[in-house]
């Protein structure tokens, strides 16, 4: 009702302006303008008229938000306990439902050229699914994910698991000195990996640092910035596929995006999230 009143006032204002403009034909334009300027009326009229236009530009109906299925699954080479997590997205101004956002009535299948493995919901973990048979993830194998959720289109994605690799430097048990020139982490290239993820965590305190280096480099400087107090540390390197690299690169804060362009490049057809894969190596070192 308030909106209609605003529109009504603007319409009235515009129609009055039009009537005024209509009377301009009776006197020469230049003379008329001169009179208006002298009296300062034209400034006022133009201001008020355009204010109406300006205000009209800001109002727009809210975007029609459709909740989507959010998929998370990461296959790790050599591991067999790969889970799938399914949730729904939520309109920003809606309260979180008490039962959570997890989806539990989905049919999930992960397949290779030789095997097809079904998934079942995990009890007491809403939205989590685990394989019914052992699924040992093999390097360089292509995996296909199919999900059927009632009243939703079929969800599909696929990933090629990066090959295993080896950490060349530092070696297990090496001592890294923080005050020296930053020691380098070096590893061999992993086939089908588009990026590497580094994770450094202390065994004695909460120091934890992780970064997606966002490229195919196989060298990374371990800066003192990443390390905490003296003690044992575990450094992990994950060779990640394109799906997971893109997923990590989407952003981590309030500027997370989901415009049409990004949807086109998402690895999940019919939903959002990720079905990715990786190969992981780790080394334990001592930091001084």
């Amino acid at each position: 009702m308030k909106y209609i009143k605003i529109i009504g006032r603007r319409f009235l204002l515009v129609s009055r302006m039009n009537k005024c403009i209509g009377t301009m034909h009776r006197v020469p334009t230049t003379k008329f303008l001169g009179i208006c300027v002298q009296k300062g009326l034209i400034f006022l009229w133009i201001s008020v008229y355009f204010c109406g236009l300006f205000l009209g530009c800001s109002s727009k109906s809210p975007y029609q938000f459709e909740p989507q299925v959010v998929v998370f699954s990461l296959l790790i080479a050599g591991y067999s306990n790969s889970i799938v997590k399914l949730e729904r997205s939520l309109r920003i101004d809606k309260k979180l439902p008490e039962e959570g956002l997890g989806i539990n009535d989905a049919e999930i299948v992960v397949s290779t050229s030789e095997d097809t493995i079904e998934y079942a919901p995990i009890e007491d973990k809403s939205g989590f699914f685990s394989p019914l048979d052992s699924l040992m993830v093999c390097p360089l194998e292509t995996y296909h994910l199919k999900i059927l959720v009632p009243d939703e289109d079929e969800i599909y994605s696929e990933t090629i698991v990066p090959d295993t690799f080896r950490i060349v430097q530092p070696r297990r048990g090496d001592t890294l000195y923080k005050r020296e020139y930053p020691p380098l982490m070096i590893w061999t290239k992993s086939q089908d990996a588009v990026s590497y993820f580094i994770d450094i965590s202390s065994s004695i305190d909460t120091t934890h640092f992780s970064v997606n280096i966002g490229g195919a480099d196989t060298v990374f400087p371990i800066l003192s910035f990443f390390l905490g107090d003296t003690g044992k540390y575990v450094i992990r390197v994950a060779a990640i596929d394109k799906n997971y690299s893109d997923y990590l690169g989407e952003g981590s804060g309030p500027r997370e995006r989901n415009n049409p362009r990004e949807e086109n490049t998402s690895c999940i057809q019919g939903g959002i999230g990720v079905f990715g894969s990786c190969a992981v190596e780790s080394v334990q070192v001592y930091v001084k």
Binding site: S47, C51, F54, Y79, K85, I92, G215, S224
Partner: protein, 479 residues
């Protein structure tokens, strides 16, 4: 002539609980010398720097320091010479340095970002009078621009890229008053640019026709090339750290084609009205890929256009002066098949300016600006993003946002009024001016951005506003 100035809010608030970690200073100087009756030499220099220094605290303890400085320095030598009664010209040697430095010290670790653009220019502009109402302008412009970008963490240099762009331009412009009613300006600006060996002709045409005693019509057309670009994804509202670079071998320099048609009407001696319509196309625009890396293929190459109508009423002399300008415009960009209005698209924009003299030699200026709010994507949804920690099967989640298309929403109408009262006077050999100003006099809360408090259920939108009412006083001295 020389002048130096600095802001002192940081000093005034130094020992209070409101710290103001920003100041800027700048200065300029110029010496002009008549060598002969037909030649003049001018040397000019300028410098300016913005400084932002912020101490990062945690539980009242200093844990870090952010020091940002950006500004420019420049020096030029200009030599003007009348060679013959029909030919005169000037040659300019200029050096400028634009720099941005950011130093972050946090938990005993330091990070340094440095971006420097050094521009060496030699420029010549000549004018030859072919006939009393027919002049030929020609000249050259040779630039070497070095881009030096460095990132250091602790003692390690993460990135150090030095790149030099060379721009060689020659121009020819014919200015011809065909008859008392018609004035023609035709020119061409061939430019060669490396790296990448790009060549552009950049033709330009301008026509001014007097259709009545107090009415002229202007039309112009031209190609304009852009050889420098900044890195960005085109969406950030605040750029703390601008990185300038040349498009290099991989991308073509930006190109804009302008089509302009306008009319100027003198209503009386001190009052005129202009209207101008324009259509500008943009090609080879670069936008950083959000998922990309700094390797090859880091940018989307896009295009766009801007079109609009500008109106201006201006009263230039008399007891009162003032102007009213209004712009109706539309700007669109296309990147990777996505068409959208960029953040600087403003459909309506109006400025009112009013100036008058007051008693005791005071001058007052009042400005009011109103414009359509900028487009923004707006948060429409949320979900829990899960990530793996690669240590086994453990995962962690964070709540992230889903946004609408880039230009779906617009911020509310922006409007603001500023008042400024000045008094100029001479003291001995110094030219002095003191002023009192109030920015945003009616304290309107213009929206800078919206953020969402996701700790609350449901999430709550918080508006971050721009400057509130902001009084200022100042004193300028020129010597």
């Amino acid at each position: 002539m020389a002048s130096i100035r600095r802001t002192y809010f940081d000093q005034l608030l130094k020992n209070t609980k409101f710290s103001f970690p920003y100041y800027f200073y700048d200065g300029m100087g110029k010496v002009s010398l008549d060598l002969t009756a037909k030649s003049n030499l001018a040397v000019a220099g300028l410098f300016g720097e913005d400084v932002f220094n912020y101490t990062i605290k945690e539980d009242d303890e200093d844990v870090g320091d952010l020091d940002m400085r950006w500004g420019n320095r420049g020096l030029s030598v200009k030599w003007l010479q009348y060679l013959t009664p029909k030919l005169h010209g000037e040659v300019l040697f200029a050096l400028s340095n634009f720099h941005t430095d950011m130093n972050l010290t946090f938990l005993k670790s330091t990070s340094d970002f440095r971006d420097e653009v050094i521009d060496y220019t030699v420029k010549g502009d000549f004018s030859y009078v072919l006939a009393p109402k027919h002049t030929l302008d020609f000249g050259f412009d040779a630039k070497n621009i070095t881009f030096d970008f460095e990132v250091k963490m602790d003692t390690l240099t993460i990135l150090n890229e030095v790149d030099t762009a060379r721009i060689r331009t020659f121009y020819l412009q014919d200015k011809w008053e065909l008859n008392p009613l018609c004035f023609l300006q035709i020119g061409i600006r061939p430019t060669y640019f490396t790296p990448g060996s790009h060549f552009r002709w950049d033709p330009r045409l301008g026509l001014k026709y007097r259709v009545a005693t107090n009415t002229t019509i202007n039309a112009s057309f031209g190609f304009y090339s852009q050889f420098l670009t900044t890195v960005g994804n085109g969406e950030e509202l605040l750029n703390l750290f601008d990185i300038w670079l040349s498009p290099g071998e991989d991308y073509a320099p930006g190109l804009s084609k302008h089509y302009i048609l306008g009319m100027e009407q003198w209503i009386s001696n001190n009052f005129n009205f202009t209207i101008e319509g324009y259509y500008k196309t943009f090609e080879y625009l670069l936008q950083l890929k959000e998922k990309g890396t700094f390797d090859e293929d880091a940018f989307y190459v896009g295009s766009g256009y801007a079109t609009g109508l500008d109106f201006l009423f201006k009263k230039t002399a008399g007891k009162f002066s003032g102007e009213v300008s209004y712009s109706l415009s539309l700007t669109k960009r296309t990147f990777d098949d996505e068409i959208f209005c960029p953040k600087y698209d403003q459909r309506h924009n109006m400025n009112l300016g009013f100036g008058m003299g007051l008693p005791w030699g005071l001058n007052m200026n009042l400005k009011w600006k109103v414009g359509t709010g900028s487009p923004y994507p707006g948060v429409i949804g949320t979900y829990y993003k899960t990530e793996h920690d690669f240590s086994g099967d453990s995962t962690y989640t964070k709540r992230v946002h889903i946004t609408a298309p880039k230009d779906y929403y617009r911020y509310p109408v922006y409007h603001r009024a500023d008042l400024d009262i000045r008094k100029a006077f001479n003291w001995k050999l110094l030219k002095c001016e003191c002023f009192v100003g109030v920015m945003n006099i009616y304290n309107h809360e213009n929206i800078f951005l919206y953020i969402w408090d996701i700790e609350k259920d449901p999430a709550e939108r918080i508006a971050v506003t721009m400057f509130p009412i902001f009084p200022s006083v100042g004193f300028n001295i020129k010597f």
